[in-house]
């Protein structure tokens, strides 16, 4: 289906082509007319020049005759004028006849005749001056001059007739060309009028049909656009309301993020203090570990001393066994001495007393060795108990040292975890700050979005108004193109 613009373009193109055709034909007609006019003008000039030739020849003949009759030089003035003007007139006439060979031949013939006549006139004038009037009239009476003049007249008459025929012929051509131009103008105008009328009808139909349909579409679209604009405005209002609520929530979130950031900062401070305490505690743990090691060495030393004491107690026991053996033997000897003193009777009485004292000493020594043995056994028992207790204490110290190492390791892990906690708290602080910044940006973006929603609402209102105006304009346009109410 042809569009309205295409139809308009085709209509204008046909009109333009028709105008161009009419213009070209008219131009050609005018050109032909101008050419004919130029030819007519040249023919008129040729006629004038031909008449001028005859007139100058007449003036020369008349002037020659007057001089021949009167002998006065004043009569020769026209002759001299003809003698001056004829060459110029001939030279001007020759190009005017160049396109006509017959006229060109006649012109040559007439020129020769003019030259002969002018020579004859000059000869007669010379004759009059030299031989006088009689001689000159005698030559006139011969009639040569008249004959030549008649022949010249006849030739010039032919030339004038030829030019007159040419004028008539060109008048007919002008008439024919003018008729063609007139017909071209009349028929071209009629054709142009018909074409414009057809284009107007076609365009009117197209305007009424296509444009009307399009305008109806525009009307429906305007209605739909208005409804959409109303929905968009409602949505924009809801969006603005939601954005306001979200902005309020995000403001609360921002405050919470800042509180979290403050808390994380406090946690970082506490973690740094804890890490500092942990480093100080590490030194204390190291000193305590050294103290435990020194205690362990002291306990080992005590155990060594105790074992040495036990060995020496054992040696003392051995020596005590020796002493006990000696005491027992002394006792036995004292008993035997007493027995012998008893056998000796009175002689042995004094010896018996000494032996009894010796026995008493031996008894005391035996009792003392028993006491010493008891005490040494007590000492050895105490030593064994002490050694066992010390070994138990040593084991306890070892266990304590191991537990202390575990505590120290745990403390080190705690210190490491505190550092990790501090790093994590810093990361939390940094992340929370970044989150707060992001939330601020989000809040700004939401505010911008809410503003954009409000602007969208306003724009939707404008769109609705524009759609209403567009619908009104569509009705007007439809009224214009269909001339009926919608």
């Amino acid at each position: 289906m042809w569009t309205f613009g295409r139809k308009l373009a085709v209509g204008f193109a046909l009109s333009f082509a028709l105008l161009m055709l009419i213009g070209v034909l008219a131009y050609r007609g005018v050109d032909v007319l101008a050419q004919n006019s130029y030819q007519v003008t040249r023919t008129h000039a040729a006629v004038t020049h031909i008449g001028g030739l005859l007139s100058l020849m007449k003036d020369a003949e008349t002037s020659q005759r007057g001089y021949l009759l009167t002998g006065e030089e004043g009569y020769l003035e026209p002759y001299r004028g003809a003698l001056t003007s004829l060459p110029k007139l001939i030279s001007e006439l020759k190009p005017l006849l160049r396109d006509n060979p017959a006229q060109q031949a006649r012109f040559e013939q007439a020129s020769a005749m003019i030259d002969g006549l002018m020579a004859m006139h000059k000869e007669r004038i010379e004759t009059r001056r030299g031989e006088g009037q009689e001689a000159a009239i005698r030559n006139v009476k011969l009639g040569e001059g008249k004959r030549r003049m008649d022949e010249l007249r006849a030739v010039i008459t032919q030339m004038e007739d030829e030019e007159t025929d040419l004028l008539r012929e060109r008048a007919r051509e002008v008439e024919s060309t003018a008729n063609g131009v007139r017909q071209t103008i009349v028929w071209g105008t009629a054709a142009g009028a018909l074409l414009v009328l057809a284009a107007a009808l076609t365009l009117s139909r197209a305007l009424t049909g296509q444009v009307g349909t399009a305008v109806k579409h525009v009307q429906r679209s305007s209605a739909e656009l208005q409804a959409a604009a109303n929905q968009q405005a409602a949505g924009a209002r809801e969006t603005a309301t939601s954005m306001t609520e979200i902005s309020t929530t995000i403001s609360e979130l921002l405050a919470t993020s800042r509180q979290i950031a403050d808390s994380a900062q406090r946690v970082v401070g506490i973690a740094e203090q804890t890490a500092s305490f942990a480093r100080g505690g590490d030194g204390t743990l190291q000193a305590a570990r050294e103290t435990i090691a020194a205690m362990r060495r002291q306990i080992d030393l005590v155990v060594d001393h105790m074992l040495d004491l036990g060995r020496k107690s054992q040696q003392i026991g051995v020596v005590l066994d020796l002493v006990g053996e000696l005491a027992e033997q002394t006792n036995i000897l004292a008993i035997n001495a007493t027995i012998e003193a008893t056998v000796a009777g009175d002689a042995g009485r004094r010896f018996s007393v000494v032996a009894d004292e010796i026995r008493k000493l031996a008894d005391r020594m035996t009792a003392s060795t028993k006491d010493i043995r008891v005490q040494i056994d007590d000492v050895r028992g105490a030593v064994n108990t002490t050694v066992m207790a010390t070994e138990t204490g040593s084991k306890a110290v070892d266990a304590g040292a191991r537990q202390f190492d575990e505590v120290a390791a745990t403390f080190g892990r705690i210190a490491g975890l505190v550092v990790t906690t501090m790093d994590a708290a810093r990361e939390i602080e940094l992340s929370t700050k970044q989150q707060a910044t992001a939330v601020e940006q989000l809040n700004v973006a939401l505010s911008n979005t809410a503003q954009a929603s409000r602007e969208t609402e306003a724009s939707s209102g404008q769109t609705s108004q524009t759609a209403t105006e567009l619908a009104e304009m569509s009705r007007d346009l439809l009224r214009l193109v269909q001339a009926q109410p919608t």
Binding site: I335, N336, T338, V343, V353, D356, R364
Partner: protein, 185 residues
């Protein structure tokens, strides 16, 4: 050194010095009794020192092929070979497990083996008591605050010499009180 030890040392010093300072014992002292405290089968007994010719620690006896009751073998003492009898068996307490002492009797050339030797005491006549327990007659001595049955070696020696001890009779013999019952001065 504790205070008690110092006091005991001081007493011992004084007693020792006093033994040199005091005059010889009077006649009453002649009645003093020297006894030897021994231990048989864990029980305390006493021997009259006047009945003994010597006391020596036990040594391994030389075996002697005889079946006499209580005979342990032969013992050597100051160049003499003496028959060694088990005192515990002789007083009817059964065979001794590990005799550690030998006592040489003065009345007869023989040696008596017993387990324990507690010491020697010089007793006054008041410390010799007539034993009146349910087991019979005999004497007992108070040594260090405790009573010890006094074994009369004469009866023991007489029993060995008289062959009164045969194995059956030895087996039926009750305690040392039987032997002690025959003792007495």
């Amino acid at each position: 050194m504790t205070e008690a030890t110092r006091a005991r040392l001081r007493d011992w010093r004084e007693a020792f010095d006093r033994s040199f300072a005091e005059p010889l014992r009077r006649r009453e002292d002649e009645a003093a009794l020297d006894v030897l405290g021994i231990r048989i089968a864990g029980d305390p007994f006493a021997l009259n020192l006047a009945d003994l010719a010597g006391l020596t620690p036990a040594m391994p006896p030389a075996p002697y092929p005889a079946t006499a009751p209580g005979l342990l073998g032969l013992a050597g003492h100051q160049g003499q070979v003496l028959p060694l009898y088990d005192l515990q068996a002789l007083i009817g307490r059964g065979p001794a497990t590990a005799p550690r002492w030998w006592a040489i009797t003065r009345a007869a050339p023989l040696a008596l083996a017993f387990e324990g030797f507690d010491g020697q005491w010089r007793l006054s006549p008041g410390d010799r008591l007539q034993q009146s327990d349910a087991t019979g007659t005999g004497w007992a001595v108070r040594c260090g605050g405790a009573l010890r049955p006094l074994i009369e070696l004469e009866g023991v020696i007489a029993a060995i010499a008289g062959g009164q001890l045969d194995s059956a009779a030895f087996a039926d013999r009750d305690t040392s009180t039987t032997t002690a019952g025959r003792a007495g001065r």
